[in-house]
C-alpha cells in the first residue's frame, strides 16, 4: 500500500497527490512514469511522475478525473493509500545542453512537461515554456513553470488568460520572428502534439513528444502500448515514452486509444450510478 501524504485540487477535476514511495522517489528521473492500481478490482494505468522528494520519500502525480479509475483515485484522501504503485518505468528523458529549448504543455500534459523543463534548465539550456488550457481556471502549474523558465507564455482557447488561441500559434510566431530554437518538447493531447510536429517539421527542428497509450503491465511484457515510429513498431513502456515526434504515427495512436472507448464510458457511467445510489 502506498500512503497519500498530500492531496490538492489544482484545477476543476485536476488533482495533485504526493504519494509515499521512497524507492521510486530516490530513483526516478525526468520523463519516467508509474503504473497505479487503486484497489483490488482496479485496472493498471500509467501516470507521469511530476516531481519527487527523495528525503520525504514521496512522488508527485497529477491527473485529470476522466474515467472510473481516475475517479476512484481522486476519491482517496490524505491518510488513505493506493493499493499498487510501480516504477519508475520508461526511459528517462534524454537531457543535453543544446541551447534554446521550447517546452510545450497542453492541459494536464503540463504536469509531465514540468520535470523535463527543470532538467533541461538545470543542465544549462535557455528554456521557453508555452503552456495552454481551454480556459484560465483549467491552467495548472503556471507559477511552478514560470519559476524554472527563462520565459513563460500562456495560451487559452477562450482568451481568458494570456494569448487567445493555440500554443502552436505562439511557437509559429517565435519561428517567424527568427528566433533560434534547438529543441521542442511537447506533451499533451494527441492533436496538440501532432500540430506541434507539423509546425516544426518544415524547419527540421528536433521535436520530442511523450506518448501515453493504453498500457497494462508497463514492463515490456504485453505489447499493448505499441506505436509506430518511423514505420517500426515500438513499445512505449520500454522504448519510450518519449519519441521523435516527426516519426510518430499519430493517426494510429489516436485510433488505438479509442479501442475501449465504449466499454470505458459504460464502466464510468455504472460507477457514477452506484455512487448516486449509495
Amino acid at each position: 500500500m502506498f500512503a497519500i501524504k498530500k492531496k490538492r485540487l489544482i484545477a476543476p477535476k485536476v488533482v495533485l497527490m504526493e504519494v509515499l514511495a521512497p524507492k521510486i522517489a530516490r530513483k526516478r528521473r525526468a520523463g519516467q512514469f508509474v503504473i497505479l492500481r487503486v484497489n483490488d478490482t482496479g485496472e493498471r494505468f500509467p501516470l507521469t511522475i511530476a516531481d519527487s522528494d527523495a528525503e520525504a520519500g514521496t512522488i508527485t502525480i497529477i491527473f485529470q478525473i476522466a474515467g472510473k479509475s481516475t475517479a476512484l483515485l481522486a476519491a482517496l484522501n490524505e491518510g488513505e493509500a493506493i493499493q499498487d504503485v510501480v516504477g519508475p518505468l520508461g526511459r528517462p528523458t534524454h537531457i543535453e545542453k543544446v541551447g534554446h529549448v521550447v517546452c510545450i504543455g497542453g492541459g494536464v500534459g503540463i504536469a509531465p512537461v514540468y520535470p523535463i523543463l527543470r532538467a533541461m534548465k538545470e543542465i544549462g539550456n535557455r528554456v521557453t515554456s508555452i503552456i495552454s488550457a481551454r480556459s484560465k481556471d483549467l491552467l495548472i502549474l503556471e507559477e511552478e513553470m514560470r519559476a524554472h523558465s527563462d520565459d513563460l507564455k500562456v495560451a487559452t482557447d477562450d482568451g481568458s488568460h494570456g494569448f487567445k488561441g493555440f500554443p502552436t500559434q505562439i511557437l509559429q510566431g517565435m519561428m517567424n520572428g527568427g528566433e533560434r530554437i534547438d529543441l521542442v518538447v511537447a506533451v499533451g493531447p494527441v492533436p496538440l502534439m501532432r500540430a506541434v510536429c507539423e509546425v516544426t517539421r518544415p524547419r527540421g527542428i528536433p521535436t520530442v513528444v511523450s506518448l501515453n497509450p493504453i498500457m497494462v503491465d508497463g514492463t515490456g511484457m504485453c505489447g499493448g502500448c505499441r506505436v509506430s515510429v518511423g514505420g517500426k513498431t515500438q513499445f512505449v513502456c520500454v522504448d519510450g515514452p518519449e519519441f521523435d515526434g516527426h516519426q510518430v504515427d499519430f493517426d494510429l495512436l489516436s485510433k488505438r486509444l479509442r479501442t475501449y472507448a465504449d466499454l470505458e464510458r459504460a464502466s464510468a457511467e455504472a460507477h457514477k450510478c452506484k455512487i448516486g445510489a449509495g
Binding site: 524507492k23 521510486i24 530513483k27 492500481r37 478490482t41 482496479g42 485496472e43 493498471r44 472510473k68 479509475s69 493499493q83 499498487d84 504503485v85 510501480v86 516504477g87 519508475p88 518505468l89 497494462v216 503491465d217 514492463t219 515490456g220 511484457m221 504485453c222 505489447g223 499493448g224 505499441r226 506505436v227 509506430s228 513498431t233 513499445f235 520500454v238 493517426d251 494510429l252 485510433k255 488505438r256 479509442r258 479501442t259 475501449y260 466499454l263 470505458e264 459504460a266 464502466s267 455504472a270
Partner: protein, 464 residues
C-alpha cells in the same frame, strides 16, 4: 511381490465441452480417492524408476504412487513436496506425456500410469488439509534475492528457504505467480491453487516484495551492494513477437500476452466488476500452435466469441501444444486452419480489425528446427472476416535487467547466458534460470532450473 492385476488407465472426470465453454471454472475435476487408488495400483514400482529420469525436478514417483495405493495420501503429498515446490501446479500444467509418462514402462504397451493426475490428486489432498509448516531450518545468516515470482523464482526461493537462507523475492506485478497468474487461464489452473502454493512459501519464511521492477527501481548491482549474498534472475518471458505484417497495430489485434493478462491477471472476464476492459469479440483468429495459442482461443470462446479460428502455418503434427490442450480446444469448438499463414490484417476506417488475408501453405524440406518448413502455395490467397486477432507466436526476453547489468553476458537472442547445471551467469554471485535463459519453455523446466540454481547457490554460500 506379484503386481496386482492392472485396470485400464483411469479417466479423470471433467466438465462437458458444452457446459465449460460458458464458464471459467477448471475443466477436469480430479480423481476421486477410489479412482486414484485404482490408478496407483497400475504402477509396477520399477526399481530403476525410469519415470524419475523424465522429471526435471526428479520427484520420487514410485514412492508417492505407492503411498496413494496404500491410502496414505498425506504422505504421498509430503514425498512429492520434498522435490517439487508446486505439485498442484505441475499436476495440471506439466507435459507429462513428454516427460515422466513417456518413460513409464507401461507406455510401451500404450497406457502409461497417469502420473500427472496422481500428482494432482496427492497435491490437492495436501492443499485441502490444514497447512503443514515445515520445521524451520537453522538460519545460515545468508541472504538471497530472487527476481521474479514465477515458476523458476518460486522454486528457487522455496528450496533456499528450506535450507535456512533468508530469501526475498522481487516481483514486478502486483501479484506473485508470474505466468501461472498472468498467462495460464483459470480454467486450466485455478488461481486459488497458485495462491495456496505461494502462501506455503511465505510460511516457510520467503518474503515477497511486489511492485518491484528490478532493473528500474533497483539494479542487480544495487541488490548485491545492499547485502544480498547472491541473486537469482527468473524474469521469464518478455516482449511479445509480432509477425511483421501490415495491420498488426490495428485496434483489435492483441498479443496473447496482453489478451491473457487482461483476462487472467486483471480479471477482465469479470468486467465491469473488475475495471480492466477486454474486447467482447464475435469472430476471432488466434495465430500460433502452442499452449499459449490454445489458452487464448479457449479464453476467447469463454468471453462469448461466436467463432474462434486457430491459424497455424504448419500441420497438426508440428504443433508444439500439449495433445490434451489441442484436444480440449477442438472439443470446445475452436476451428483449426492448419497450413495457413496470415499475410495482412485488414482494418476499417476507424482503425478496427475487420478481417485477415491468408495464404495456404504446404510442407517442404525440414528447417533448422527439424520440422518441415511451410512453403506458400501460389494463388491460394483468401480473406476471413474477423474483429479480433490474437498473436501467439512467442516472446523475446525482457531487456530490463541485461540493459542495466553491464557485466551480464547475453546470448544472440537476448537470453541471459547461464551454466546449464548451476545457473551461474558471467557475473559472480548472480544466477539465472527459466525462460530468461532458455527462451520460451515449460513451467516444469523453469522449476528444474530454479531447483538446480538453488542447489548451486547453497553450495557457494556454504562453501565460501
Amino acid at each position: 511381490m506379484k503386481p496386482p492385476a492392472r485396470a485400464p488407465r483411469q479417466k479423470m472426470p471433467e466438465q462437458s465441452a458444452e457446459e465449460r465453454v460458458k464458464n471459467f471454472r477448471e475443466v477436469p475435476y480430479g480423481y476421486p480417492p477410489e479412482t486414484a487408488k485404482i490408478e496407483a495400483a497400475r504402477c509396477l514400482q520399477c526399481k530403476t524408476a525410469p519415470c524419475r529420469q523424465g522429471c526435471p525436478v526428479e520427484v520420487r514417483i514410485p514412492e508417492f504412487i505407492r503411498k496413494i495405493r496404500e491410502g496414505d495420501f498425506a504422505e504421498a503429498n509430503r514425498i512429492i513436496k520434498g522435490d517439487n515446490a508446486l505439485p498442484a501446479v505441475c499436476g495440471r500444467v506439466c507435459p507429462q506425456e513428454d516427460q515422466c509418462e513417456k518413460l513409464c514402462v507401461l507406455a510401451k504397451k500404450g497406457e502409461s500410469v497417469a502420473i500427472g493426475r496422481l500428482e494432482r490428486f496427492a497435491a490437492d489432498y495436501g492443499l485441502a488439509q490444514a497447512p503443514e509448516t515445515p520445521p524451520p531450518a537453522a538460519p545460515t545468516g545468508r541472504r538471497v534475492a530472487v527476481v521474479g515470482a514465477g515458476p523458476a523464482g518460486l522454486t528457487c526461493a522455496g528450496d533456499l528457504a528450506r535450507l535456512g537462507h533468508e530469501v526475498t523475492i522481487f516481483e514486478a506485478f502486483h501479484a506473485p505467480g508470474g505466468v501461472l497468474v498472468y498467462g495460464i487461464p483459470e480454467f486450466r489452473l485455478p488461481k486459488a491453487i497458485v495462491q495456496a502454493e505461494v502462501d506455503a512459501l511465505k510460511r516457510a519464511g520467503v518474503k515477497i516484495e511486489l511492485n518491484a521492477v528490478i532493473g528500474k527501481v533497483e539494479t542487480i548491482d544495487e541488490l548485491l551492494a545492499e547485502g544480498f549474498d547472491a541473486v537469482f534472475i527468473g524474469t521469464g518471458a518478455g516482449l511479445p513477437n509480432f509477425m511483421g505484417i501490415p495491420g498488426e497495430n490495428l485496434g483489435g489485434v492483441y498479443s496473447a500476452n496482453e489478451y491473457l493478462t487482461r483476462s487472467n491477471l486483471m480479471k477482465a472476464y469479470r468486467f465491469p466488476d473488475f475495471d480492466t476492459p477486454i474486447i467482447r469479440s464475435r469472430r476471432v483468429a488466434v495465430v500460433g500452435g502452442g499452449n499459449v495459442a490454445m489458452d487464448a482461443a479457449r479464453t476467447a470462446l469463454r468471453l462469448g466469441a461466436e467463432e474462434v479460428r486457430l491459424v497455424y502455418r504448419r500441420s497438426r503434427e508440428e504443433m508444439p501444444a500439449r495433445i490434451e490442450e489441442i484436444h480440449h480446444a477442438e472439443e470446445e469448438g475452436v476451428r483449426f486452419e492448419l497450413l495457413t499463414n496470415p499475410i495482412e490484417i485488414l482494418g476499417d476506417d476507424q482503425g478496427r480489425t475487420r478481417g485477415m488475408r491468408c495464404l495456404r501453405m504446404k510442407l517442404g524440406e525440414p528447417d533448422a528446427s527439424g520440422r518441415r518448413r511451410p512453403v506458400p502455395m501460389p494463388g491460394s490467397e483468401f480473406e476471413v472476416e474477423l474483429d479480433t486477432v490474437i498473436i501467439a507466436i512467442g516472446n523475446t526476453p525482457n531487456p530490463l535487467i541485461p540493459s542495466t547489468t553491464p557485466d551480464l553476458k547475453v546470448g544472440s537472442h537476448g537470453t541471459i547466458v547461464a551454466d546449464k547445471e548451476t545457473g551461474l551467469t558471467s557475473k559472480a554471485r548472480v544466477f539465472a534460470g527459466g525462460d530468461i535463459v532458455t527462451g520460451a519453455a515449460t513451467v516444469i523446466e523453469a522449476m528444474g532450473a530454479g531447483k538446480r540454481a538453488a542447489r548451486a547457490i547453497h553450495a557457494q554460500l556454504m562453501g565460501g
